[in-house]
């Protein structure tokens, strides 16, 4: 004796947010029922497992039917099949596109290809996120990437416009797309300590200041790629370390500013040339795609690690980078102020974001 068929259809589609989350998290119906029973959120109305099972099945079916529409969120508002209140539509979309930062961290900078998709089970077992959920998140990345890749205008806005996401989520997607497009190296062991948020912040900085769109929003440009001209101009910064006079002058200016204000003054003084050289070298190499990819690993290896080994505090670092940047502009013979500030502004905030354990 079995229930052969069991459906419930409301004129207004009923959506249980809790069940939706379970579905998104990739739980099977049986597991979802178990979790709902355990959660005890249903305490006030005692229900049997049977009722819960039937309800969960219904909800899962509804979500599966909606999934097709969620792939193109603007369709959700136009479709006739389900009558879903606007706030629920927004919730459905937002939650569907939300992703685990753990997962995103793993995929970040990787090519969103079939090959990567095959590795999802590794990621799943590593992060403890259900494979189903991983697939959904991966497919979302890919879908968003494909749509906005070729679009002009600000990246985050494009994402938001096409996928009707919240500001925050759209920004995160912009980061993912940006990383996937430029294929930044994020998987190295030395970078493991960095979280998705760290990278997302950096991506935001890069998008805001280093892309073509950063200079002129009105231009028909793409936000996904760094501005070639700017990267080329960065070569000129070399003068700051190649010109011995200038280097010394710069150092003395920074030291005079920082004396007594940072704890690691002596280490800084000793290391100044190395640190400066590191930052300038990174800048000057960015014309090579390969070196762009290695931006983060370079920052960590060449700058962050030395500082960390000298036990700089974040405050020390902030002061140093601030004055390092500002004093260079006061150098009489230095003519690249604009490029310099555009470069250092981003590098400074990235380093500060990345400077933690």
């Amino acid at each position: 004796m079995t229930m052969e068929l069991d459906v419930f259809v409301g004129n207004t589609t009923i959506i249980d947010e809790e069940v939706y989350q379970l579905w998104l998290d990739g739980f099977s119906v049986a597991d979802a029922v178990k979790m709902r029973l355990e959660n005890g959120a249903l305490g006030e109305c005692e229900v049997s497992g049977e009722v819960l099972h039937s309800d969960t099945m219904d909800q899962y079916r509804t979500f599966q039917m909606c999934e097709r529409l969620l792939h193109c969120p603007s369709k959700l508002a136009n479709q006739l099949l389900f009558q879903i209140p606007a706030h629920h539509q927004a919730m459905l979309i937002e939650r569907y596109y939300e992703f685990d930062h753990m997962f995103a961290r793993e995929v970040l900078g990787k090519k969103l290809s079939k090959g990567t998709k095959k590795d999802l089970d590794d990621i799943s077992s590593k992060t403890g996120i259900a494979l189903k959920s991983c697939r959904r998140q991966f497919d979302n990345f890919k879908r968003v990437f494909k749509v906005v890749e070729e679009l002009k205008g600000p990246l985050a806005e494009n994402v938001q416009h096409h996928f009707l996401l919240s500001d925050l989520l759209a920004k995160d997607y912009a980061a993912v797309v940006f990383f996937a497009n430029s294929r930044f190296e994020t998987g190295k062991k030395k970078l493991q300590y960095l979280s998705f948020q760290d990278f997302a912040f950096c991506a935001c900085q890069l998008i805001s200041y280093w892309t073509v769109g950063a200079v002129d929003n009105m231009m028909d440009d793409m936000d996904v790629d760094l501005e070639k001209e700017f990267l080329h101009d960065l070569k000129d910064l070399k003068v700051l370390v190649n010109d011995k006079d200038m280097l010394d002058q710069h150092k003395s200016l920074v030291c005079s500013q920082l004396r007594g204000r940072i704890r690691v003054f002596t280490e800084m003084e000793a290391n100044f040339k190395n640190l400066s050289r590191a930052l300038i070298n990174i800048a000057s190499k960015l014309t090579n795609t390969k070196d762009v990819r290695d931006l983060f690993i370079d920052l960590v290896e060449k700058f962050i690690e030395p500082c960390r080994s000298d036990k700089w505090t974040a405050g020390d670092l902030t002061l140093f980078l601030t004055h390092y940047t500002s004093t260079a502009s006061t150098l009489e013979t230095y003519r690249y102020q604009v490029i310099w500030e555009r470069y250092m502004g981003v590098v400074k905030s990235c380093i500060l974001k990345m400077y933690h354990d």
Binding site: E4, L5, V7, M65, L81
Partner: protein
Amino acid sequence: MPGKLKAKIVAGRHLPVMDRASDLTDAFVEVKFGNTTFKTDVYPKSLNPQWNSEWFKFEVDDEDLQDEPLQITVLDHDTYSANDAIGKVYIDIDPLLSSEAATVISGWFPIYDTIHGIRGEINVLVKVDLFNDLNRFRQSSCGVKFFCTTSIPRCYRAVMVHGFVEELVVNEDPEYQWIDRIRTPRASNEARQRLISLMSGELQRKIGLKVLEMGGNAVVGYLQCFDLEGESGLVVRAIGTACTLDKISNTYAPASAINPCNSSPSKDTKEAGFGEEAPGVPLSSGPPTPLRAQTFSSFSPSKSYSRQSSSSDTELSLTPKTGMGSGGSAGKEAGPLKALLRQQTQSALEQREFPFFTLTSFPAGFLLHVGGVVSARSVKLLDRIHNPDEPETRDAWWEEIRQEIKSHAKALGCHAVVGYSESTSICEEVCILSASGTAAVLSSRFMQDGALDMDHRFEDLAPPGCGFCHIPYDELNMPFPAQLTYCHCCRRFKVPDVLFTTIDLPTEANVTGKGCLIQARLCRTKKKAQGEGNATAISNLLPFLEYELHTQLMNKLKLRSMNALFGLRIQISIGENMLLGLASATGVYLTPLPSPGGIQIAGKTPSDITYEQHISNMQKKINDTIAKNKELYEVNPPELVEEVIGSPIPEPRQRSRLFRSHSESSDEVSELDLSHGKKDAFVLEIDDTDAVEDIHSLLTDAPTPPGFYSCNTEIMPGIYNWTSALQMFTSVRVFRLSNVNLTNQGLNKVFNDLCENLLKSLYFKLRSMVPCCLCHLNFTVAVPEDELIQVAVTAVAMSFDKEQTLENGRQSCDKTLMKAITENEEQLQFPLELTAESSSNPLSSAKGLSEVSGALPSARAPSVDYSSFTDRCSSWIEQLRLKAHTIRRGSIKTMSSLEKASPLPEGRSRSLRSNRSYAGGSVAVVKMTPLSFIPGTKIIKYLGIINMFFIRETTSLREEGGVSGFLHSFIAEVFAMVRAHVAALGGNAVVSYSMKECVFMENPNKNQAQCLINVSGDAVIFVRESELEATPPQPQSASTQTSSSGEGT
């Protein structure tokens, strides 16, 4: 050629990819009406084509306009092979034919395919230019309005209620045609959809004709059903109540002036004679369950019939046909004067002798007394003869049943049957026809007044709150043994101890506490048999089934300390090897009726101690449940008061321990002065295995979870402050009995659990709406296959405001609901009173409506309060002015002013429409409800009836998520298509929505399934009450007064 249909194909969107190579589609559209087809250009390589076609014009008879749907087929152009169909849209253009309904159909329609479901949408514009046809011999009935709503629609008032109309149309089922063997199931299903759409159109037209002949202009409580008889054909039948309705916003309709009343005295006497002859069939006032199950019909093969579907033409005197000839032609041919004269010669007698009303709620004062439920069933053998075009057979079957119903009503001292409905259940070649209704005495004021001396014994004296409970039959000559007491409200008239009805609870009824859904469920095994043997077996089982159901109902009613059932609906479904019975009703405690006694369990052989203990345990449980229920439903009748006054009940207390043994007449209550003190107790003998079962089922009914109420009627007594939150839903379950050798008891339990679990699931699903009430819970059971039981439920969950409920007593404030309900009534009455004043009012006398005012309550209920008239007069001043205007205009023009329907709502609808288009991409919200109203809103316009039939099939059942996935998406699609059609008519809600049919078949081995769904409802435009400017503040007192004042004809 009195009509020009114009259609324009604007655009498509979300089309499916038809060309794999390009991932695009080259779509074009065929627009077909009748035999004319137009095509749009091919819009190449797009999933969102913009055809923006010219206006396709069809010049057609209005007869065709009514019968045919507009067929729109979207195809993918293919240069080398045949064009592939993407899907179809059928548009019923009937709403455009009535001047008061929609003016244009415009919107996005889902493109539907029987295999793939919805595949994108198409934007279509449809208009109709209708030329007036005054041909008296016309076959069309354009302009007759149809309403599924089983009460007078909210923005109309009834000028006259003419009575019962019925019609049926028979055709061969395309699925069973020989050609089916060579064509695809898809083609065959499409043929079926098309045919049924055509047949419903034809049926509606024919009913419309009858209505016109009777002089009416609308059908209320229109109930259309399909009988899929399999090889013997397809029957589409409909019943309804013909009325003359008047739109409230533009009061004056000249039609009312020329309203003929149809009945000839000669016919009448004949009818009366017949009524007396009616055989003494066993009757009862509860659900008297008179049974007839003996007629096995056979078709007469001698006659040859055309293969065309033919319509029925019963000489059933139920439809007042005799009057038709004269009355009907008068309505059309002549000016009001002639009609007037004719009218006066006719008497309403016959009408009143034969009134079946599909209405379930009535204008206040219409319903005088209720006798009880009358029902009749008959088992028929469907003939296998391959020429089924013999509607006379089907008509004769129904006539038989209706006659029986009529005689039952007569025996109950009633001259009318209200809340009338008909249904069938078919299994193989056996068919059960059922009809049921409530015997009632109606006020003569509401029909044409005639010479008839209906004995409205208490009419003038009965207060509205209890009058309908007073017995209509003769106390000394009761049709069945019942226990009568004096009415607990007025203490003047006798009332029965329990009252079962099929109607909604009258709004003015005095009720104590709240109501609740009461269901009796029963399953009986039956041996497999063929043909006549099978029919006999079923006939033999039926009486027991009905009896058991009734017993269950009674017990459950007692368990809840209630004394009346409303909205009773007994459904009996036959399968190969079982019979299912499901009775649903809403139990309430009617204050006028005596308080029910408890339930007493008695053991037959009180020999051993454990047994005694068992019984006393059970008794305790029952007593506890009763006490709990009393609290839950707030049933605390003023018992003490009653005792003090001392009820004049002289009846001797007969002690009969019989419960199971007494005869059909189920109303008698066996009583015993036992633990329930002075109250009469109901005895259940435990020895009886059936009784054990009864008690079991009594106690297994899980109580509704806190915050939930449920009923199967429109309104729930005791809840008045609905919020606007509402959720209509359909839930379907199919249960497979794997164990074939089940006993009756086992089956019962399975069935009972199935229903209980379904309810539990519903409560759980809708928990976020608490406090809420599930209204109009409509269960449908079926036995689709050998071991399958199917239960389908459609209902609406409505939230209400708990705080207010507690604060406000019923009398003091029922603002939200009563307003919603009575406002309409008040509106109904206002113009009525206006005309009633006609003698002194120059305005109304000027309009030459003397006939109407004559028909109106010249013999008004004494409670009409004229002082309230002035009140309302000032508050409705705006409306009055409007009326005066139209009235004056109306006096000059006659028929033509009908066409010039209210400019006000028209404008409103247009503005709504434009709002919608401004809203841009998002889809307009369309509410759906099985009720006739939406709380907190006012329906300002009825746009026409929605009656849709869909078939969905699949050959990849597993891939579509199994049977559940398949049906889930199908039901969602049906909802979507209903919403789209309503939105295209300019509406924002469907009221009186119902799913008439849901036939599901599967063949999992072949990975196939098929489902047919038929839905109907009324498309409306509503506005929130808060948005309605100039909603006059109604004095609460006025509402009660008006509700008793009554309404015309």
